[in-house]
């Protein structure tokens, strides 16, 4: 299978793969194009001229609800969720390297957090706040709801990372007299930095795009996905697509920054990594 000429199976599967990628990205590309629709254009092709009309429209507050406000809230929430996810998942990953009483319970809670349908988490937190007489808000209840989705991902990634981590680095640091904190700060974190960026990417994007877990937890002020969802029922102009383009654009910038910084770190490590045989 790995040697010699490409057989018909390769071309068949290759074509299948290309179709799959087209299926994944095609619709998004379509709304990207349609968001530059002229002022008289509609929700489908043909293009009626090319303009930035619908993007300008997006930032006029009275036209489409509170786009700027919900974008700002979602960005702040995403960054907060990202920071907590990275710190909490990393620190729990450290703890899980040794068995401790209750480790099994917490592991299964993480799995449960992934498989319990999002709408139940949302409903549960919403009901809890109602029973307690508190007002749900995007920075309190929705923040917690998002963490129940991002933390299990972060924890599982940290498990995979620590399983491949060579503990001799750590032992070497300790032998050289480093304290536990110094070992974490100067040895473990730098080595795991690419993976931590990956966890951060999960934390930010999953929160930024989360709909179901925000539904009953966001309170008075909408996050961006809720705002978009609200618009789909009452907006019938390409401004909807402009919104889609801007939102997806933000996601792509975040994804690209993460991937680029990981690649950059790897390259740098390959250049400076080993000093074996270089002793004077």
């Amino acid at each position: 299978m790995q040697h010699g000429k490409r057989g018909p199976a390769f071309w068949f599967l290759g074509a299948f793969f290309c179709l799959f990628v087209l299926f994944l990205y095609g619709p998004t590309l379509t709304i990207l194009i349609l968001s530059f629709q002229g002022p008289g254009g509609g929700l489908t092709f043909p293009m009626n001229g090319v303009s930035l009309h619908w993007f300008r429209n997006l930032f006029e507050k009275q036209m489409v609800g509170d786009f700027a406000g919900s974008l700002q809230r979602s960005l702040i929430l995403g960054v907060a969720v990202m920071l907590v996810t990275v710190v909490a998942a990393f620190s729990a990953g450290l703890a899980f390297r040794s068995r401790f009483r209750g480790s099994g319970v917490i592991f299964y809670l993480a799995i449960a957090s992934l498989i319990v349908p999002s709408i139940l988490i949302s409903l549960g937190i919403g009901l809890l706040y109602r029973v307690l007489g508190w007002d749900p808000a995007w920075y309190s209840s929705a923040f917690g709801a998002h963490l129940t989705w991002t933390l299990p991902f972060g924890l599982l990634i940290m498990f995979a990372v620590f399983n491949r981590f060579d503990r001799r680095y750590e032992e070497a640091a300790r032998d050289l007299g480093a304290t536990s904190w110094q070992t974490i700060r100067h040895v473990i974190v730098p080595i795991l930095l690419p993976s931590l960026i990956g966890v951060g990417l999960f934390g930010f994007t999953l929160s930024y795009d989360e709909f179901a877990r925000s539904l009953y937890t966001a309170g008075t002020f909408n996050t961006l996905p809720l705002e978009i969802y609200g618009m789909t029922t009452n907006v019938t102009t390409p401004v909807l697509y402009a919104l889609g383009t801007v939102t997806t654009g933000v996601s792509f910038v975040v994804i690209a920054l993460s991937l680029l910084s990981v690649t950059w770190l790897r390259r740098r490590r390959a250049r400076h990594g080993s000093d074996a045989g270089k002793a004077a």
Partner: protein
């Protein structure tokens, strides 16, 4: 382990445990408690009634909705498994350079980090009455009238599920495939197995854990979904999640909570059955 060290361990795991306690355990417990409450048009009243469950389980609508939701889950599961396995198989075994494998794998996973709601909206210009699909088919002379079933139907719901969730299959299956020792494949070939026989008798069994993890994700997400059904069916299809959301909007919180408990039990039962096939801790 000495005292100080175990104290540090608990401190390290505390933030995680606290989030799960406050935002997973307590809310689920609240749902269970509220599911026994009484309610009227304006408020919920603490009580211990089985009435919410009775009304729910005696209504034929409930059974139809659960049946439809399970049907969605099964169809989506079969399609995402078939497509996901094929895609992962191509990248893992037919692409030779590791760099190319990484690039193609990333290409499949990037949409996971973008908004689901936007990805659903993006089907409108394709499937609508005057959308690309209908215009193309009409220009080709294949149909005279626009096809109505493309958007706002069970078809578009399943299409959106497959579009959104196939990568939940691709990633774990690809992961399983990359761990298969390549010398096994060589041994199979040397023993005279055809490519197809190798696939069925060697690769497929070794991918079972990946398939199980992917299936757990896809099935639990579809079982609890409500926004995809609402958006892609235009309110024409039903799902358990949608039924709960409707009860919530009518302020019938205890009714929604009872439904949530039943859904949770069903999902946990399905997952427990699938977990028998795989030890997740070994897969990391």
């Amino acid at each position: 382990m000495n005292r100080v060290k175990s104290w540090v361990t608990y401190l390290q795991v505390a933030p995680l445990a606290l989030v799960f306690l406050l935002f997973l355990i307590v809310p689920i417990a609240t749902i269970v408690v509220v599911s026994f409450f009484d309610y009227n048009t304006t408020q919920i009243i603490p009580a211990f009634l089985l009435q919410n469950y009775e009304e729910l389980l005696l209504s034929p609508v409930t059974w139809r909705t659960y049946q439809q939701t399970i049907q969605f889950a099964l169809i989506t599961w079969a399609l995402t498994l078939l497509i996901g396995f094929t895609v992962a198989y191509f990248v893992a075994f037919h692409v030779r350079s590791p760099t190319m494998q990484t690039v193609l794998f990333l290409l499949c996973t990037i949409p996971f980090w973008t908004s689901n709601v936007i990805r659903m909206i993006s089907w409108i210009p394709f499937l609508g009455r005057h959308g690309l699909a209908n215009t193309t088919l009409m220009n080709l002379g294949l149909i005279k009238e626009p096809l109505e079933f493309l958007l706002y139907s069970d078809f578009s719901v399943v299409l959106a599920y497959v579009h959104l969730y196939t990568l939940f299959m691709v990633v774990p299956i690809f992961n399983s495939m990359m761990r298969i020792d390549r010398s096994l494949l060589e041994a199979a070939r040397d023993a005279g197995a055809s490519g197809w026989q190798t696939l069925v008798n060697v690769i497929l069994p070794l991918c079972k854990p990946g398939i199980a993890i992917g299936s757990i994700f896809v099935v639990t997400i579809v079982m609890g979904d409500f926004v995809t059904v609402r958006m892609m069916s235009g309110g024409l299809s039903a799902s358990v999640g949608l039924m709960m959301a409707n009860a919530m909007s009518l302020l019938q919180y205890p009714a929604a909570a009872a439904n949530a408990v039943i859904l949770l039990l069903l999902v946990l039962f399905i997952v427990a059955a699938m977990m028998r096939l795989v030890d997740i801790r070994k897969e990391l």
